[in-house]
């Protein structure tokens, strides 16, 4: 995460601005949590408690929301999040094989982060580049028409940057 070096307190200050803006809006909890996920990198127990204190929304409700939607994570993601599109168009063109190869190369299951904190592997829903199927993303960079044998080189590239 880009924000990993900043202290939590500083990040909470950023979050305070968002909470102030949304806390009296009907349905404001989701935007607050979406921003918290982006600013802090996860909505762990501490973040859930913080939002609860500031808004008066019970932490049970916040936990319920955090575990319902796939966007929220309860622990921080790695420096690079690798997403393999498992939408139908990519799947029928073999994205499962790419996913399996990545899982093998990284030594982690989907949704988990490598021990060095560098990569998080995720299976994503359709990212809408069906013309590039099978597609994968690394922190938003899109790689199209990926074959299982390309995986190693792509991972190496990011590993070398560190």
């Amino acid at each position: 995460m880009a924000n990993e070096n900043k202290a939590r307190e500083e990040l909470y200050k950023e979050l305070d601005v968002i909470i102030e803006q949304w806390k009296d809006e009907p349905g404001g909890l989701l935007p607050i949590m979406q921003n918290a996920q982006e600013i802090i990198g996860c909505v762990d127990e501490e973040v859930q408690n913080y939002i609860s204190d500031k808004t008066g929304i019970p932490v049970s409700t916040i936990y319920g929301v955090a575990t319902f939607y796939s966007l929220f994570t309860l622990e921080p993601n790695g420096k690079y999040t690798i997403g393999i599109c498992l939408g139908t168009a990519c799947y029928v063109r073999g994205s499962q094989l790419v996913y399996d190869e990545l899982s093998k190369q990284l030594g982690v299951e989907g949704g988990r982060t490598t021990g060095d904190g560098l990569f998080t592997l995720t299976a994503t829903r359709c990212i809408g580049c069906c013309g590039l199927a099978p597609a994968m993303t690394v922190n938003g960079d899109v790689y199209g028409r990926v074959k299982p044998e390309d995986v190693k080189g792509i991972i190496e590239k990011y590993r070398n940057i560190g």
Binding site: G27, L29, L71, T88, A89, V92, R125, C126, A133
Partner: protein, 602 residues
């Protein structure tokens, strides 16, 4: 607006952006500046042209030259040759055959576009979606003005509902409920507060119709929602859009701000006493939120769990108030119906399904992309004439429509005219418009398993038939794909499927068994081959595959043995090699390396 002699339109939809169109726009501007043409040539980023397979796509007007697969290094040539010297760079122009023999110079000559009829996608790829003036120049906000000035009072608002009813427009989100009727129901309740919502939570894997409309023509949705607000008496609208669509979200934000600046959203729109505003709410990745009651719960900031209907949202919806909810593509048709009249819209399509439908064509198809055709067009026309057929000379096996709620359509039904009722009759559904083509290399049991994995994962867990039932179905499918299927499994699947359909709470659960039922209906033989013969006819389910070397064809070069990661291949040079099936991990490396085609996978 300024006058330019040439317009360079660069596709900035998600597909082309992923293949680098933002840099192409930048280089175009730089190069045009270099040759001193900035005053004469305008570079515009537009929404999706539809032919995503050939992205990044650039069109240069007035010639209408359609450049495809453009690389950054091609840009200087187009600028100096085409824009400066007036010579079209023919080797970069799109060609329907790879040998570049037949050159299709203009959009309308391209096979892909010939059979299409663009209504919802009218402005996609034609205007700059971030410039409200371009939308207005293409009759934008004219329908709203017409409604507010010509259809005034209670009578006028009822007249607009009549127009929608006469047009025969049905909801494009999947269920096909008549839009006019929905508007009528939402208008009926008396309430100070009402809401108009737009479902842009396009979750079907492999579908991107709504995203392309939002990216290419966001004002069309805003205008239609405003009209709907006027008709039912709402003051506030919400667009619920997937957070995974950053470009669409960005353009919607720009569009909303521009509309507010121009007085087309906000208080006293166009000087009348009608006030209406629209805000965005982002989805956070939950497929079930495409279901209307779940979507409304999510806008309220809760877990996106569905609720039993009735009460329907038209009576008691968002924050307990009467709410109208339509999908993006439905809204995208509204303004055209009001401007051109209901008869015009009803003249397209079939008896019970009027107008056009947008499909996201993907999978094993030559021209992956976005197409809009009149209802009643056959699948064969869409797949072979517009889509260019199946690549690599493979045989068509099935077309999947309706995503995880739909079904697979086999070759024998390729000539059925596509509309809501016909697709239901053959065991699939229109759905939101994803159309995935599969060829002989796809295993239909595996595809059914793929969709069940999806619905299992996305089941919200509120009702047991969906939470537990889909899990049990998935377990049986996994067993079959693993080569451990038993007699009676098919019957168990069918029984579970029918029970889930009859008892699940919401549309997600009720339709979850469809992919299994439709593949059982048309591809039962594949299930039987898996169960009784422990064989996957398409060669996909790896645990049932056996790799063997044909001793007749093997020259004994040892290349396969050298590349085998498991050390499962052995033999003497210049004599036939053999594969030890116990050690084989079925990776397929040997097949790829063999120069003599001696290795087979069955």
């Amino acid at each position: 607006m300024k006058f330019y002699r040439s317009q360079v339109l660069v596709c900035a939809g998600t597909g082309c952006t992923s293949s680098g169109s933002a840099d192409i726009i930048r280089i175009f501007k730089e190069e045009i500046e270099k040759v001193g043409l900035s005053e004469e040539v305008n570079v515009i980023h537009t929404g999706c042209f539809g032919l995503c397979e050939n992205g990044p796509v650039v069109i240069v007007y007035p010639e209408g030259a359609f450049y495809s697969h453009i690389k950054l290094t091609d840009v200087p040539r187009i600028v100096t040759e085409h824009l400066l010297k007036g010579r079209i760079v023919t080797d970069l122009v799109y060609s329907s055959d790879s040998a570049h023999k037949s050159k299709s110079m203009a959009l309308e000559d391209i096979e892909f576009y010939k059979k299409q009829k663009r209504v919802a996608l009218r402005n996609c790829g034609a205007i700059d979606p971030e410039n409200i003036e371009e939308y207005i120049a293409f009759d934008g906000y004219k329908a709203l003005a017409k409604c507010l000035t010509e259809y005034t009072g209670e009578e006028g608002r009822d007249k607009i509902i009549d127009i929608m009813l006469q047009s025969g427009l049905r909801g494009r989100g999947g269920a096909g409920f008549p839009t006019g009727l929905k508007w009528k129901f939402a208008k009926a309740p008396v309430s100070d507060i009402k809401y108009v919502c737009c479902n842009a939570d396009e979750g079907d894997p492999g579908a991107f119709m709504d995203r392309s409309v939002l990216e290419g023509d966001p004002h069309a949705v805003l205008e239609a929602m405003t009209i709907a607000g006027y008709v039912i008496g709402a003051q506030q609208g919400y667009i619920y859009v997937r957070a995974e669509y950053p470009i669409a979200v960005h353009r919607l934000r720009i569009a909303i701000n521009q509309a507010r600046e121009y007085g087309l959203l906000g208080n006293n729109i166009l000087g009348t006493d009608f006030s209406f505003d629209i805000d965005l709410r982002l989805g956070s990745g939950a497929f079930v939120c495409g279901e209307e009651t779940a979507l409304l719960a999510s806008i309220e900031g809760k877990r996106g769990e569905p609720n039993p209907r009735p009460p329907f949202p038209a009576v008691k919806g968002l924050f307990g108030k009467p709410t109208l909810l339509n999908n993006v593509e439905t809204y995208a048709n509204v303004c055209q119906i009001i401007l051109n009249g209901p008869e015009w819209f009803a003249s397209m399509g079939t008896e019970k399904s009027k107008g056009t439908k947008v499909f996201a064509l993907g999978g094993k198809i030559q021209n992956t992309g976005l197409v809009e055709v009149p209802m009643g067009t056959t699948l064969r026309e869409v797949i072979y004439e517009i889509g260019g057929g199946i690549p690599n000379g493979k045989k068509f096996k099935a077309a999947q429509t309706g995503g995880p709620s739909g079904g697979c359509i086999p070759a024998q039904h390729l000539d059925v005219p596509i509309d809501f009722d016909n697709l239901s009759a053959i065991g699939s559904m229109m759905g939101s418009g994803g159309l995935i083509v599969m060829d002989e290399d796809n295993c239909m049991v595996n595809i059914a398993k793929f969709f069940l994995e999806f619905t299992c994962d996305e089941s919200c867990g509120k009702c047991p038939p969906c939470r537990i039932g889909t899990r049990r179905m998935l377990e049986i499918l996994e067993k079959i794909c693993d080569g451990k299927g038993e007699p009676g499994d098919i019957e168990k699947l069918e029984e579970l499927a029918i029970n889930i359909k009859n008892s699940a709470l919401c549309g997600l659960g009720q339709t979850a068994p469809n992919p299994v039922l439709s593949t059982l209906r048309y591809f039962r033989d594949e299930y039987e081959a898996h169960i009784y013969e422990h064989r996957c006819p398409a060669g996909v389910c790896s645990s049932m595959l056996r790799y063997t070397i044909d001793p007749e064809k093997c020259k004994g070069c040892s290349l396969c043995a050298k590349n085998c990661p498991a050390g499962a291949i052995s033999g003497e040079i210049k004599k036939p090699f053999v594969i030890d099936t116990e050690k084989c991990v079925k990776c397929g490396a040997c097949i790829e390396k063999c120069k003599f085609g001696a290795i087979s996978r069955k």
